[in-house]
Structure formats: structure tokens, C-alpha cells
């Protein structure tokens, strides 16, 4: 059964008097534990798809089901609660909270979103910190660590709530090649270990080469169906 099911979804934006069609009749299914990317040029609609799946926006038409929930029917508060329960986010600019340490950044969704008890919180944070190899940096602030480390912390923050799905918008755009591959490998490993679905919006060839399923978007439409990458599932990415 699909984790995400989109049927003929469209998204229109009004820019002044002009209506811009960001997505037109897009249909796709994404299975659990997938490693998927939406690619395309700027303005093709890939970020819009991520926003819709991430309950940050609603489709103008069509139906979109994420984790058995019709996300278009959720109100603002329900959407926030849904995101906190089921989704993790990774951003191009890492978006860590600058006044919190690495540990506290990862702790944030557990305490502010999911209200996890302290003992369990500590255990989960330590586990995820070990997994992303950042345990020794736990007390540092974001401005004291490198870009690659920041993105590893962002991955840890996204995974610590055990989400079904992580949405990553250009997660490697601000990283050098070596660091980018390290982060991709980390995400793959996390997918393998936790069966978390990763969906990328990107035009970074490093990610394109590593995902298992690829959707190409052109002018808001899916160009053909999903493309399957030949790379063996679970294999490490190469620099």
C-alpha cells in the first residue's frame, strides 16, 4: 500500500491578476521506505509538490493522501500536528535554531511538538546523535560546526521523531561533493535502518544518481512516469 497517493493534483497560484498553474493533474504513488526524488528546472513545480506532501500547502484540485490521511482536509492546527507526528523536514540552508545547541536542536521536536518524556527523549537523541556521528558535537551551537555537520544535525532532527516520511528540499545544495555524498549515504543508511521514506526536491546530480525512483517535472506536469534507478538498493553513494 502506498504511503503517499496523489491523484490528479493541481496547484494554482494567483500572482496579481494572473493565475499561475504550478502543478497540473499530477498523479503518483510512493511506497513506504522509498528513496525518491522530484527533479526538474526552477519553476517546474518540484518544491510545490514537497509543500503539498508536507501539509504546508493544499492542492487546488485532486486528492492527496499521506499516511492514510487526506491532507487537503486538515486545518492549520491539524496540519501542524500531522507534520509533527508523521513528517520530518530537511532544508537546503539547514535551518537549525541558532540559540540551541546541537543536542537541543534535535530535542526541539520531541519536546515542543511531541511532548516526549525526558528519559525517552535523552535515549532517542543519543541514539540518533550516534547514528549521524555527531555525539561528540552535542554541546556545540550551530555556528560552531561545519555545513556538513549542520546538515547531519538537520537529518538527526528530522529522524528523531521516527517519522514515516522525510522531505528534503535541496539538502546538498550548500555542501561540497564529499560532504554531500556523506550526507546522502547517511540518509540512505537511515532509510535502511528505520524504513523511513525520503523524498527529495532537487536538481543535484549527486542525489539524482543515488535515488531509486525519479520523477521528472516539466512546467508543472510529470514528464512520463516514475523512472527507476539501476543502482542496487541500499548501496553506498560514491564521491
Amino acid at each position: 500500500m502506498a504511503l503517499i497517493s496523489a491523484k490528479n493534483i493541481s496547484k494554482d497560484y494567483a500572482v496579481g491578476d494572473v493565475v499561475v498553474q504550478a502543478l497540473q493533474n499530477v498523479t503518483f504513488d510512493i511506497a513506504p521506505a522509498s528513496f525518491v526524488a522530484f527533479i526538474g528546472p526552477s519553476g517546474s513545480g518540484k518544491s510545490t509538490i514537497l509543500n503539498l506532501i508536507g501539509c504546508l500547502d493544499k492542492p487546488s484540485a485532486g486528492t492527496l493522501t499521506v499516511a492514510d490521511t487526506d491532507v487537503a482536509a486538515l486545518d492549520r492546527k491539524e496540519s501542524a500536528a500531522f507534520r509533527g507526528r508523521h513528517l520530518g523536514f530537511i532544508f537546503q540552508d539547514f535551518n537549525l535554531i541558532p540559540v540551541l545547541t546541537v543536542y537541543e536542536n534535535i530535542e526541539y521536536p520531541l519536546i515542543m511538538v511531541q511532548n516526549v518524556p525526558e528519559a525517552e527523549r535523552r535515549e532517542r537523541i543519543c541514539r540518533v546523535l550516534e547514528a549521524v556521528d555527531m555525539a561528540d558535537q552535542a554541546d556545540k551551537y550551530p555556528q560552531q560546526i561545519s555545513g556538513g555537520q549542520k546538515q547531519r544535525v538537520a537529518v538527526a532532527r528530522a529522524l528523531v521523531t521516527n517519522p514515516a516520511l522525510v522531505l528534503a528540499d535541496e539538502p546538498t545544495a550548500n555542501l561540497d561533493s564529499q560532504t554531500a555524498y556523506a550526507v546522502i549515504n547517511l540518509m540512505k543508511r537511515m532509510r535502511d535502518e528505520r524504513q523511513t521514506t525520503f523524498i527529495f526536491s532537487t536538481h543535484d546530480q549527486k542525489i539524482v544518481g543515488e535515488v531509486e525512483v525519479l520523477y521528472r517535472l516539466v512546467d508543472g506536469r510529470l514528464d512520463n512516469g516514475p523512472e527507476t534507478n539501476e543502482k542496487p538498493k541500499g548501496g553506498p553513494a560514491h564521491a
Partner: protein, 412 residues
């Protein structure tokens, strides 16, 4: 909740200079209000104290119509013996009354045998008068601080004008109720400084001497000055006395007595009210300072952290928590400003008292300023500041909580 406070405090520290400037502004506002309230309050208390404790008493009882004609000190509106007994019985029975003093007031001529001038005199029982208006003796700048039969205490302006000294013989002549004139010789036992306000330039003689001058054989008084145990219960006691005396009516069914508090007898009540109004507006200014500075700083904080707001909203932080996060920042700023303001304000009040500023109040010179403030007043000012700080944060916080995560994440 603790986590929200931790984030708020760290964000305040993150923008250290701005936080410091805003907290300083609030602190200065609180200090200004506390110092003003303490000085204005002590001035008001001093003024009321001078008016009530050296002349008027806390309240007075008169025969109906006497106060309306008080400029002429009408002898025909004096309280007669039965009325005096009723009033004495009433006041003796009241647990709120500390002391009361019957006064026989009249206007007359004062002569040093070479010159003559007008004088207003109070005939009093000295012990009872000094207990009712305890600061009266402080006004006696020369001579004895007592008064016996055949003695007179005269105001300093009169003494200077007529070159009269302590122990000099003088004559008081007055018109009696029946229109005849009578005189009596007195020895000047004391010279008292004038006080600002009605009765501030009156002289004092024994009430029995006053009755003798006026040829009054039975007990008769013009007014009864009353001192309460608790000044703060003035309105309640006055109301109570009014209630009890309202039943006393003349044959025409009109009330026999009137009760007047010092507020109705002295023009300084208007000044006291003006001080209250000024204090009120000073508080409004403080509220405006806190409101504008906190709102300004919180609008800036929201604007500068739009992407952060987008991030925390995207990862599932509920709008209420985002709102709380910013409101707590405003709250913390308010608390810091209020606490610092209270500490600095308290220290400044102490310094003012240590320096010992002196000022003049009407005829009274060199009164020592004793700035003081009730702890409750400090708490009230601090609570106002904190409530206003929270209120000022609400609009920016609400804006942050309603922000569209997509727009916020796109913000550069």
C-alpha cells in the same frame, strides 16, 4: 514551558544590545515613576499631615450652616450644651476616634496697648487640642509649648507686626452674641509660626477664657475637631458619624449637625487630587514607554526570525506555542525592566533621603523631604509593566504564529 523560557532568554541574549537598550528604557521608566510616586506621595502625605495634624484635625463636626458662614465665625451658629453632649457621647462611644477637641472660635481685636489689629482666636482645652492636632506644638517657635488660663499663643506675623514678645501683656476685645463688647488681658505664652491654609494664622486661648470674653455662661462650642486612630478609614468613619447624626433634626425637620472631612474644609485637597492625577498620567507615560519599546523590539524580533518561525512551524510547532515563545520574550523583558527599575528606584529613593533635600511649603520653611514608597506600590508598578510588556508582545507574537510556513521559509 521551561524550554520556552530557555529559548526566549537565549534569544534575548542573542540580540544583547537591543535587549539591553529596551530593558534600560523600561528600567528608566520604572525608576522615574517610583521616584516620582515616592516624592509626590511624601509631599502629599506631608501636606495632608500639616493640614490635619497642625490645624484642622481629620474631620470636624459643626452645627448645620456654620461652615457656610465660617468667614464671619458666627456665634449664633455655635453648638449649645445639649448638642455638645450628644456629640461627646457619640465620639466617646466610637472605637475609631483617637481624640477630639471642642473649639470656641471667634474674631476680635488684639492690642498691645499702643497698636490694635484683628485676630481670629480658637478657645480650646489645651490637652485635648494637642492630642487632636499633635503638630500644633511644633509650630510654637517661641515660649512654652503649653497653654494655661490667662495665656495666649499668637501667630508670628502678628507678633512681628505689633512687636509683641513672649511674656508681654496684651488685650483681646470681642463682640459677644448679644452685640455687647468685652475685653480680657492675656500674657503671651507662645508665638507660633503660621501654617498654610484655613486657620493657619489663628491664635489660641483657653476655652474658658474664650467663654469669659464672649460672656458665655453655658457650654458652647463652634466646632469639634476629631482625630481618628486610622486616617485611612476617614471616609468610613465620616459616613458612620453622618449616619448617626442625620437623625438629629430641628423642629423644621432639618438636620442639626454637619460632618466635614478635612477634604471639604481645606483647598489643599485640590492639590492632593492634582498630585494623584499627575501620578496617574506618569503611570500612563510609563505604560506608553513599555508598550512602544516592547512592541518595537518584538516586531523586530519577529521580522529578523521569519525563517526560524517558518522552520519551527514546518516541523510541527503549533501556532499557540509559537505565540507563547514571543510573548514569553516580552514577558522576560518586562520582568527584567521591572526588577531592575524597582532596585534602582529603591536605591535612588534611599539616596534622596540620605542627601536630605529641604523645601518650603507656604509659610513653613525647610521641610525635610522624606521620600518613601509602599512595597505594594512597587509591586503594582512592576505588575503593570509586566502586563503591558505581555500585551505589547501579543500583536507581533500573533503575527508570528499566523505566519505561512512556506512564505516564512522563502524569506531572505
Amino acid at each position: 514551558m521551561l524550554k520556552l523560557f530557555k529559548i526566549a532568554i537565549r534569544n534575548l541574549i542573542r540580540y544583547r544590545r537591543r535587549t539591553l537598550m529596551t530593558a534600560s528604557l523600561i528600567t528608566i521608566g520604572v525608576v522615574f515613576v517610583l521616584v516620582f510616586v515616592s516624592i509626590a506621595g511624601s509631599f502629599k502625605a506631608m501636606m495632608i499631615g500639616q493640614v490635619t495634624d497642625s490645624m484642622l484635625g481629620h474631620l470636624q463636626l459643626h452645627r448645620k450652616g456654620y461652615v457656610a458662614s465660617i468667614d464671619t465665625l458666627p456665634l449664633n451658629l455655635n453648638l449649645k450644651a445639649p448638642a455638645c453632649q450628644k456629640i461627646s457621647a457619640l465620639l466617646d462611644a466610637s472605637p475609631q476616634i483617637e481624640a477630639y477637641s471642642p473649639r470656641l472660635k471667634f474674631g476680635g481685636m488684639f492690642s498691645n496697648f499702643t497698636e490694635t489689629t484683628n485676630i481670629r482666636l480658637n478657645g480650646v482645652y489645651p490637652d485635648r487640642e494637642f492630642r487632636t492636632v499633635p503638630l500644633l506644638t511644633d509650630r510654637i517657635v517661641e515660649g512654652k509649648k503649653t497653654l494655661a488660663r490667662g495665656e495666649i499663643i499668637i501667630p508670628i506675623l502678628l507678633a512681628k507686626g505689633l512687636k509683641v514678645k513672649v511674656a508681654d501683656s496684651v488685650v483681646v476685645v470681642a463682640t459677644n452674641a448679644d452685640g455687647s463688647v468685652n475685653g480680657k488681658q492675656f500674657i503671651v505664652s507662645g508665638i507660633m509660626e503660621s501654617a498654610t491654609g484655613p486657620g493657619g494664622r489663628d491664635g489660641y486661648i483657653h476655652i474658658e477664657d474664650a467663654a469669659e470674653v464672649l460672656r458665655i455662661s453655658e457650654t458652647e462650642v463652634s466646632e469639634v475637631a476629631v482625630r481618628l486612630k486610622d486616617f485611612n478609614r476617614l471616609a468610613a468613619v465620616a459616613g458612620d458619624l453622618n449616619g448617626k447624626l442625620s437623625g438629629e433634626v430641628n423642629k423644621a425637620g432639618q438636620p442639626l449637625f454637619e460632618v466635614h472631612t478635612w477634604e471639604q474644609l481645606s483647598p489643599f485637597f485640590t492639590i492632593a487630587r492634582m498630585i494623584d492625577v499627575m501620578t496617574f498620567f506618569i503611570r500612563i507615560m510609563l505604560i506608553a514607554i513599555v508598550l512602544i519599546s516592547i512592541m518595537n523590539v518584538m516586531i523586530m524580533a519577529v521580522y529578523e526570525r521569519i525563517r526560524e518561525i517558518g522552520t519551527i512551524a514546518a516541523i510541527g510547532t503549533l501556532p499557540g506555542k509559537i505565540l507563547s515563545m514571543f510573548v514569553i520574550e516580552g514577558f522576560c523583558l518586562g520582568v527584567v525592566g521591572a526588577v531592575l527599575g524597582a532596585l534602582v528606584g529603591g536605591a535612588l529613593i534611599g539616596i534622596v533621603n540620605l542627601i536630605g533635600f529641604r523645601y518650603n511649603f507656604g509659610q513653613q520653611k525647610g521641610i525635610l523631604m522624606r521620600a518613601s514608597i509602599e512595597p505594594l506600590e512597587i509591586v503594582v508598578v512592576s505588575v503593570i509593566v509586566i502586563i503591558v510588556a505581555v500585551a505589547a508582545s501579543l500583536q507581533p507574537a500573533f503575527k508570528a504564529s499566523r505566519m505561512d510556513p512556506i512564505e516564512a521559509l522563502r524569506h531572505v
